[in-house]
Symmetry: C2
Subunit: 201 residues, 2 copies
Amino acid sequence: MAASRSKASAEEPNRRADIVRAAGRLFHEKGYSATTIRDIAGAVDMQSGSPFYHFKSKHDMLRAVVLEGMDTINTAVARAATSGKSPRATFEAMLRAHLDQLLGSAGRDFAATLLHESRHLDREAQAEVVALKDGYEAMWQQALNDLKQAGLIADDSPVARLFLMGALNWTVQWYRPDGSRSVAQIARQFARLLIDDTHRG
Amino acid sequence: MAASRSKASAEEPNRRADIVRAAGRLFHEKGYSATTIRDIAGAVDMQSGSPFYHFKSKHDMLRAVVLEGMDTINTAVARAATSGKSPRATFEAMLRAHLDQLLGSAGRDFAATLLHESRHLDREAQAEVVALKDGYEAMWQQALNDLKQAGLIADDSPVARLFLMGALNWTVQWYRPDGSRSVAQIARQFARLLIDDTHRG
DNA sequence: TGCTACCAAGCAAGCGCTTGCTTGACAAGC
DNA sequence: GCTTGTCAAGCAAGCGCTTGCTTGGTAGCA
């Protein structure tokens, strides 16, 4: 989905994907505006004009990075949401999936760029992202509704969802891969903070 | 504290404060890197070279904005923290103070710039901010400890604090002043999401 | 007379992006 | 087997413009 038409085969050296990865990392580290085409080109050993063979503008590179971020996190959490376990176990699996994409080395840069640099997209691309995000948040809303149905939480209002999304997305600001807490541990602790354990066995 | 030596008197037309305000608003809206000196100068009806009479660099303007943000939010929450009410009431007052600074028209731009643009500060200025932030978060840690002592929450670990700070700070992304929820309402609902009401009367 | 606060002009560097051209791989024609 | 044509992928150079910041000068007030 990130590439609109080309196959996402990873066999051959795919320079376009290299550029997206490098752009993602740099956008994450320095921000979109502070990242130059020369930075990106240098990171993949190209001359500064060459990326424009693959993308028609810097803005288009940001769009590719952000859509890649939406796609991977959406896929990961959707899989966790349909794993068919109990509401509580499903919820924790979703937390772990979200945090894995946000903090793990695989998609970290894409997800972080999605969260912090989307405002630099033009109106059209932003509408694209918002549409995907609405679907994503609906998934979380459903999970909260299920938890309430099961009597595990007291509040499943939209504000509760935003409260949760904030806590999750803010981990980008403080999580360190070499720190003492694993992603799975954080996911479990977050679940406990929301779910009223006194109502369980 | 925002201005290192000059008095913070607001009586006379203080052009330096005007610049800080305009810079804060623009940094918040467009980001630090995407904001130009000409943007800032234009916003206060100056020529593009004139702000440099008051600041020695663009970086210094960012530093002033960020320190102003830290100072105002720190002051507001510290006052709420020492109001001498019950742990529960004190906590909710702190939530409201934090959200007021973050979402209210008074200090919104300073606080948001603090949260999102601090990474563009040099190492020295960042250390300055981190030191202030550590003190600020210690205040919240104390509040959580008090709540636990009173039997109102089950977890007062640092992760719980980070969880809370994330939920709070993320409100910047979704709160709209013309929306249906007031800041006070959000503060109360956030308090209820954390505090186990089943243990109260 | 001296100082504060600013303007008008502009500099050097860097920006996103375009252009004309080269290179290596592969296939068709003879 | 050798030439010829085509194409993807990128290089080298640089264009027009913007950037943060500097400089010399000056109006207005004390």
